[in-house]
C-alpha cells in the first residue's frame, strides 16, 4: 500500500492554538482538516510536510448560521452543508456544488475550508512519486528546472483550479476571514486565488481560513458541474451563476464564475454587461459566447480539451436559462442531467 512519509502531529484545541502551532511550525507545517486532499497528496509525495496541525478537534470551527447573512465555519463538513435546509433554500449554488463534491463518504469528513484551499490539479502532477519520476517530474518539483508538460515552452504551471465550492461561493459574493497569530483579515473570496497553478492561494502559509460569509442579497443561483461519472470525479468544468432580478426581470446584479478551466476560479468580467438587461434568448447566447472565450481548458483534466470548451458555452447558456425559469426537464440530455443532478447521499 502507499504510505505517507513521517511527520509530527499537533492536535489543536482552539483556533488560536492552531495559529500558534502553524506559525511556529514554519514553512513545512500544514493544516489538516478532513485530510481528503492533503493525505493523498502526501502519499504521492506531492507534499512532504513535517508537521500537521489538526483542526479536527477545534469545535469553534464548525457550524452554520443563517440569519440574514450566512456564516459557515471553515471546519464544517461538506455533508453538513448539504444537509442544511437553509443553505439549500437560500444558496442553491452552494448546495449543488457541495452535494456534488467527491463522494458521500468523502463529504462526511471533508470540510468547506479544505475545499476552498484544495490544491490545483493536473494529469501530470496528481500522480505517484514513481510516475512523476518516469516523466522527469515537472515544473512543480521536487527537482529544479522541471518542465510544464502541459505547455512545455512556457515557464508557468497550468494546473487547474478544481474546487467545486469556490466558483459557487464567488458567484454568491462570499467573503472569508483569515486568521493568524498576527491577527485577522477579511477578503472577498475571489482574492484568495492567484492565477498560478503551482502557488494557487494568495494567503500566507500561517493564515487559517476560519469562516465564510455570504451576504443576504436575494439572488437566484445555480451550479453546473461537468464530470464523466455520477460521483467521485473532480469537475472538468464548473459554471456557477448568481443573478439578482429586479422588477420585470431586469437584472440588478450578476456574477458568473467558471471553474476548472484555469488555475483559478474565473469571475467572468462580462457578467457586468448583464446588469440592466433581461435574460432573453439573444442576451443569453451573446453572453455565453463571450464568456466561453475565457474558458481555456488545457489537456490536463479528463475529457478532450476542445470538447470541454464547447461544453462551456452550452453550460453558460444553460445555467442562465435555468435561472430565467426555463424548465430543465425540457433541456437537451447533458444540460438536463446537469441541471437536475444533485449529489446522492445516504439518507
Amino acid at each position: 500500500m502507499m504510505r505517507a512519509g513521517r511527520f509530527r502531529y499537533h492536535v489543536a484545541s482552539t483556533v488560536a492554538d492552531a495559529a500558534a502551532a502553524l506559525a511556529d511550525g514554519g514553512p513545512h507545517a500544514r493544516l489538516l482538516a478532513g485530510g481528503t486532499d492533503l493525505i493523498p497528496n502526501m502519499k504521492r509525495r506531492q507534499d512532504t510536510p513535517d508537521l500537521l496541525v489538526s483542526l479536527r478537534h477545534v469545535g469553534e470551527l464548525r457550524g452554520i448560521s443563517v440569519n440574514g447573512e450566512t456564516a459557515i465555519h471553515a471546519g464544517t463538513s461538506l455533508d453538513d452543508i448539504v444537509k442544511s435546509a437553509a443553505i439549500r433554500a437560500v444558496h442553491p449554488a452552494l448546495h449543488r456544488a457541495a452535494s456534488q463534491i467527491a463522494s458521500p463518504l468523502i463529504r462526511n469528513t471533508a470540510t468547506l475550508g479544505g475545499n476552498l484551499c484544495v490544491d490545483t490539479r493536473c494529469n501530470y502532477y496528481n500522480q505517484t512519486f514513481e510516475w512523476r519520476k518516469s516523466i522527469g517530474f515537472c515544473l512543480r518539483g521536487p527537482v529544479p528546472d522541471g518542465i510544464c508538460w502541459v505547455a512545455p515552452s512556457g515557464r508557468r504551471c497550468w494546473a487547474t483550479a478544481s474546487s467545486d465550492s469556490a466558483p459557487a461561493l464567488i458567484a454568491l459574493g462570499a467573503r472569508l476571514t483569515l486568521l493568524s497569530r498576527e491577527g485577522e483579515r477579511d477578503i472577498p473570496l475571489e482574492e484568495l486565488y492567484a492565477d498560478d497553478g503551482a502557488c494557487p492561494l494568495t494567503k500566507r502559509a500561517d493564515e487559517i481560513v476560519t469562516s465564510i460569509r455570504i451576504p443576504s442579497r436575494v439572488v437566484r443561483s445555480t451550479y453546473w458541474k461537468l464530470r464523466r461519472r455520477g460521483s467521485i470525479d473532480f469537475p472538468a468544468l464548473g459554471v456557477a451563476a448568481a443573478i439578482r432580478p429586479g422588477p420585470h426581470g431586469v437584472i440588478e446584479d450578476a456574477r458568473i464564475v467558471l471553474g476548472a478551466v484555469a488555475s483559478h476560479p474565473l469571475l467572468v468580467p462580462e457578467s457586468q454587461l448583464l446588469i440592466g438587461r433581461t435574460l432573453t434568448d439573444n442576451v443569453i447566447e451573446e453572453f455565453a459566447e463571450g464568456a466561453a472565450r475565457h474558458a481555456r481548458p488545457l489537456d490536463n483534466t479528463d475529457f478532450a480539451m476542445t470538447w470541454r470548451k464547447s461544453v462551456a458555452r452550452s453550460f453558460l447558456s444553460g445555467a442562465l436559462r435555468e435561472l430565467r425559469g426555463d424548465d430543465p426537464s425540457t433541456f437537451p440530455l447533458l444540460a438536463r442531467e446537469t441541471a437536475l443532478r444533485n449529489g446522492w447521499r445516504f439518507e
Partner: protein
C-alpha cells in the same frame, strides 16, 4: 420444472456471511510473527538495458534485512509453455515502465519503500515501441529475442473453406474497420502475497491468485524447487476477472525472500502497480469482411485482427487465437478465414480479461450485422434469428456446439424491451440496439499439455455428519465455493451451509486448473457430482443393508436418508454416515472431470473447443445529446442461456456484474498510455493509474438492468448448467454502439464510445468515428481446413489437395 431442493433455488451464497461481516481473510489481512515487508523498485523507463544495479547502499538503510536483484534469479517463467519470457526481477533489460528491477525486504513497509531510493541503477535507454504500428514497422530494437520476427510476437492464419472465392462475387460485401481499446480488470483487491517457511522447512505462499496450480508450477520452475516442497494457497480473491491468472513476479520474489531470510515476507501492490501488472483486454484493431446474399444470409466472413500485446507474452498466443475462434458459434457461417497478429510493445502486458480475446471481434461482428440489417432493410433481430447456429452441430472451424438457447434469448429480450416498437421508431436522440454473443464453458485444453483431469474433487464424510469438500477451485468472488456446496448438498440431501469447504490449496486439495475461462462450474461441478454420487452409493449401500430398504428406493433429502415408499422409514444423515463408516470403514470419495476431445485436429484448433457454449442477447436503450454527443444508457435488457442456474441469486449477480463491466468498456475505460514530446522525453506512462482517473462507472452510472435466465439443460453441464461469468459482458458494447446509431444515425466503430467521438461522428461527412485503415501485414500461409460440410475430418489440407479431390 425440476424437483431439486437446492439446485435452482435462489439462496444466499455460502460465504456471504463472512464477506459482509468482514471475516473473510484476504491475502493482505494475513500477518505472521516476525513478518517482513517487501517493496519493488520498478523501472521508470519503458525500454532500457540495465548496465548496473547496485543495492549496497540500500542494504545499509535502517530496517533493511535483504535486497535482491535480477542476479539472484536465473530461470524465466511465464504462463504459457511457449512464452517463458518473464523474469522475477529484470536482469539485463527492462521492457516497460514498471518492470521490476530490485527488491528491498525490511521490517516495515515504510523502511522498505525508503530504501528503494538508495538502489543505484544505470540504464542505457533504448528506442521505444509504443504502438502495434511501430512494432510492425520497427524490427529493431527487438523487445524480445523470440517471436515470429522483429516485434511480431505471433501471427496466425486459419481458413475454413475457400473464402476468397466466396467473397469474389457476393450479392453484398461489407468491409468494416473496428477498434476496441484496451482496458483493465480493476478488481477492488490489489494483488497481495505472503510467503513463509512451514515448520518442516517447506515453502508456503498465500496469494490472491485465480490459479494456484499454475503459480505452483511457476514457483517450482523459477526457484528450481521440487513441487512437493511448495504449497500454494489461493486466498479468497477480492475480484480477479482474469487479472490474477498469471504467475506474477512479486509472488516469486517474496517466495525467494522467505527462503533466504527464513522469515515470512509480505507484499501488497499499490493500485499503480496493479495497473502495471495488467494482463487486461488487448487493444485490437480489426478488419471484418462479410458477404451476404440478398436475404442477409452470411456466405463468408474474413477477419483480420491486430493485437497490442504489451511487453510480455502472458496468455497472448491464446488471446490471439481467441480473437478469431468464437466468431462461428452464434450464426451459420459457411466459410471463414481468420488472421491474427500480436505485437510486442513497451507497455504493461495484455492477457485474459473477462471474455478473453472475444469481446473485441464480437463487437465487430455485432455492429457489422447491424449495418447489414440497416442496409438490407431488415430488423436486426430477424436478421439474426434467420441464421442461428443449429444445436448439436459443428461450426466451420470444427467447434462442437451443444445446446443453444440463443433463439429464446433473442425472443425474450425483444419481447421484454418492446424492441419492435422501439427500434427505428423512437424520436431523434433516442435509440435501441441489439447484440448477441456466446462464450465457452471452460477451454477443452489445459495451459500445458497433459492428459490428466482438469478438475478434481475429494469428499471426506465422517461420523460427525460433516461433509468436507476438497477442491483446487478458487473462490474469486464468482461463487465457486457456493457451486461446490450446492451440488454436493443436492446429491447428498443436506444443507449447503452445513458443508465445509477446503479450496485452492495445493497441499490439501486435488488439482483444479483455476478460475479462468468460465470453467469452474462445469468442470469442478461435474467432478463434485461424481464424488458425491460415489459417496451416496457407499452410504446408500450401508443403509440399505442395515434397514433392509432397496438402495434404489433410498432418498437423500432434508438431511435424512429415507424410503421413498414410506418416508417415515429412515434416519438422520449423520446416523446414516455412522452406519456407513461402521460397515465400509472411513468414507472418502473422489471425482474428476476431463472435457471431451475436440473435433478440430488442425494446428491452432486447440483454442475454441469447449464442452459447451453459453449464449446471450442484450438490448440497450440510450439517449444521445446531438449537441454535445453526451450519451446516457437508460436501460439494458439481457437474457442469458445458462443451461441451468444452480443458484439464481449468484447467476443474476454475474449477469449484472458483466453488464457493469461491459458498460465501463463501452463508455469510458481505457488502459491508455501517455507519451511526452519525443524531443524532450521518451517516457511512456499509464495515463490514468488510479481508481479516480481510470473511469470505471459508479453505482449512479448504472442503467436499469432487466435480467432473464434462459434454462435449457446442457448435457455436458452439471445439472445442465453452463457458464455465466463472462458471456454476458460481450453483447453490451455492440448493443450500445447500435443503439447510438439508432438514436442519432452515426456509427462509432470503436470503444470506448465517448461523447467526443459521437460529436466528431455527428460532424463528420461519413457520419462515423473509428479507425481509417488497417495496416498491411505479411500474413503467414493460412492453415487450410475444409469445413465439415465440405468434407474433411477436421484436419488441415492444402487448397490444392482440395481441388484435386473435388
Amino acid at each position: 420444472m425440476s424437483d431439486y431442493r437446492v439446485i435452482g433455488k435462489a439462496r444466499r451464497r455460502v460465504d456471504a456471511r463472512a464477506k459482509v461481516t468482514g471475516q473473510t481473510r484476504f491475502a493482505d489481512d494475513l500477518s505472521f510473527p516476525r513478518m517482513l515487508h517487501c517493496k519493488l523498485l520498478r523501472s521508470p523507463h519503458p525500454h532500457a538495458l540495465l548496465r548496473q544495479v547496485d543495492v549496497t547502499r540500500a542494504l545499509r538503510a535502517p530496517g533493511v534485512v535483504a535486497a535482491l536483484t535480477g542476479k539472484d534469479f536465473s530461470i524465466r517463467y511465464g504462463i504459457l509453455p511457449v512464452s517463458q519470457d518473464e523474469e522475477p526481477l529484470c536482469r539485463d533489460k527492462v521492457r516497460m515502465t514498471g518492470d521490476p528491477i530490485a527488491t528491498v525486504i525490511a521490517t516495515t513497509e515504510e523502511e522498505a519503500y525508503a530504501a528503494l531510493e538508495l538502489i543505484d541503477v544505470e540504464y542505457e535507454l533504448l528506442p521505444v515501441i509504443a504502438t502495434p504500428l511501430e512494432a510492425l514497422q520497427c524490427d529493431e530494437p527487438r523487445i524480445h529475442d523470440y517471436g515470429d520476427r522483429g516485434n511480431v510476437h505471433k501471427s496466425v492464419a486459419l481458413e475454413f473453406g475457400d473464402v476468397d472465392a466466396a467473397l469474389a462475387a457476393p450479392a453484398h460485401l461489407f468491409d468494416d474497420l473496428f477498434f476496441y481499446e484496451g482496458n483493465t480488470h480493476l478488481a477492488i483487491e490489489q494483488h497481495a502475497s505472503v510467503a513463509l517457511l512451514e515448520p518442516d522447512g517447506r515453502l508456503a505462499l498465500y496469494s490472491s491468485t485465480q490459479t494456484p496450480h499454475y503459480v505452483h508450477r511457476a514457483l517450482s520452475r523459477a526457484l528450481d524447487l521440487a513441487p512437493h516442497r511448495i504449497r500454494v494457497v489461493a486466498t479468497p480473491n477480492g475480484g480477479g476477472f482474469g487479472g490474477k491468472t498469471d504467475p506474477f513476479h512479486h509472488e516469486i520474489v517474496v517466495a525467494k525472500a522467505a527462503l533466504l531470510t527464513g522469515r515470512p515476507v509480505k507484499i501488497c501492490l499499490t493500485r499503480e502497480e496493479v495497473f502495471q501488472c495488467h494482463r487486461g483486454r488487448h487493444p485490437v484493431m480489426m478488419r471484418m469482411r462479410t458477404s451476404v446474399d440478398d436475404d442477409g444470409f452470411i456466405k463468408a466472413v474474413d477477419l483480420e485482427t491486430l493485437l497490442d500485446g504489451g511487453a510480455y507474452g502472458s496468455y497472448g498466443v491464446a488471446s490471439t487465437f481467441y480473437t478469431g475462434a468464437l466468431q462461428t458459434v452464434t450464426y451459420r457461417i459457411p466459410r471463414y478465414r481468420f488472421r491474427g497478429c500480436r505485437t510486442f510493445t513497451n507497455k504493461p502486458p495484455c492477457g485474459p480479461k473477462r471474455g478473453h480475446g472475444t469481446p473485441q471481434p464480437r463487437f465487430a461482428q455485432e455492429v457489422q450485422l447491424d449495418k447489414i440489417a440497416v442496409a438490407l432493410g431488415k430488423d436486426p433481430a430477424d436478421l439474426r434469428l434467420q441464421q442461428l447456429i443449429e444445436p448439436h452441430s459443428l461450426t466451420a472451424n470444427w467447434l462442437q456446439i451443444g445446446s443453444v438457447g440463443l433463439r429464446e434469448c433473442i425472443e425474450r429480450v425483444i419481447d421484454r424491451s418492446g424492441w419492435r416498437s422501439k427500434w427505428q421508431k423512437m424520436p431523434h436522440g433516442r435509440g435501441a440496439g441489439l447484440a448477441c454473443s456466446s462464450y465457452l464453458c471452460g477451454a477443452a485444453l489445459p495451459i500445458y499439455w497433459n492428459d490428466m483431469p482438469h478438475s478434481g474433487v475429494q469428499l471426506k464424510i465422517d461420523r460427525s455428519g460433516l461433509i468436507t469438500v476438497f477442491c483446487g477451485a478458487t473462490e474469486v468472488g464468482q461463487g465457486s465455493d457456493d457451486v461446490l456446496a450446492g451440488i454436493v448438498a443436492e446429491v447428498l440431501g443436506v444443507e449447503p451451509y452445513d458443508i465445509r469447504l477446503v479450496t485452492g490449496d495445493t497441499d490439501l486439495t486435488p488439482v483444479d486448473l483455476g478460475s479462468y475461462s468460465s470453467r469452474v462450474t462445469l468442470m469442478a461441478g461435474n467432478a463434485a457430482i461424481q464424488a458425491a454420487e460415489r459417496a451416496k452409493a457407499l452410504i446408500a449401500g450401508a443403509v440399505s443393508a442395515k434397514l433392509g430398504i432397496p438402495e434404489e428406493r433410498l432418498v437423500f433429502a432434508e438431511s435424512r436418508v429415507f424410503d421413498a415408499a414410506d418416508p417415515a422409514q429412515g434416519l438422520a444423515f449423520r446416523d446414516a454416515v455412522i452406519i456407513a463408516e461402521t460397515i465400509q470403514g472411513s468414507i472418502g470419495t473422489v471425482g474428476s472431470y476431463k472435457p471431451p476431445a475436440a473435433a478440430a485436429r488442425f494446428k491452432g484448433g486447440g483454442v475454441g473447443p469447449s464442452p459447451s457454449y453459453s449464449y446471450t442477447t442484450a438490448v440497450a436503450e440510450v439517449e444521445v445529446d446531438a449537441g454535445t454527443g453526451w450519451l446516457r444508457v437508460e436501460k439494458i435488457w439481457i437474457a442469458h442461456d445458462i443451461g441451468r442456474a444452480l443458484n439464481p441469486t449468484l447467476a443474476r449477480g454475474q449477469v449484472e456484474g458483466s453488464v457493469y463491466m461491459g458498460l465501463g468498456e463501452a463508455l469510458s475505460e481505457e488502459q491508455a498510455m501517455r507519451r511526452l514530446p519525443p524531443r524532450l522525453s521518451h517516457a511512456l506512462v499509464h495515463k490514468t493509474p488510479s481508481m479516480l482517473d481510470y473511469k470505471s462507472p459508479t453505482a449512479l452510472d448504472m442503467p436499469e438492468v432487466f435480467v432473464d435466465l434462459i434454462e435449457q439443460a446442457e448435457a455436458n453441464g452439471p445439472f445442465g448448467a453452463k457458464e455465466v461469468g463472462q458471456g454476458p459482458l460481450l453483447p453490451i458494447a455492440p448493443a450500445i454502439a447500435n443503439a447510438v446509431f439508432d438514436a442519432v444515425g452515426v456509427r462509432v466503430d470503436e470503444v470506448p464510445i465517448t461523447p467526443e467521438k459521437i460529436l466528431r461522428a455527428l460532424k463528420a461527412s461519413g457520419r462515423r468515428a473509428g479507425p481509417q485503415q488497417f495496416p498491411s501485414i505479411a500474413w503467414p500461409q493460412a492453415v487450410y481446413v475444409p469445413p465439415p460440410w465440405e468434407g474433411g475430418d477436421g484436419r488441415a489440407a492444402t487448397k490444392a489437395e482440395e481441388a484435386l479431390q473435388s
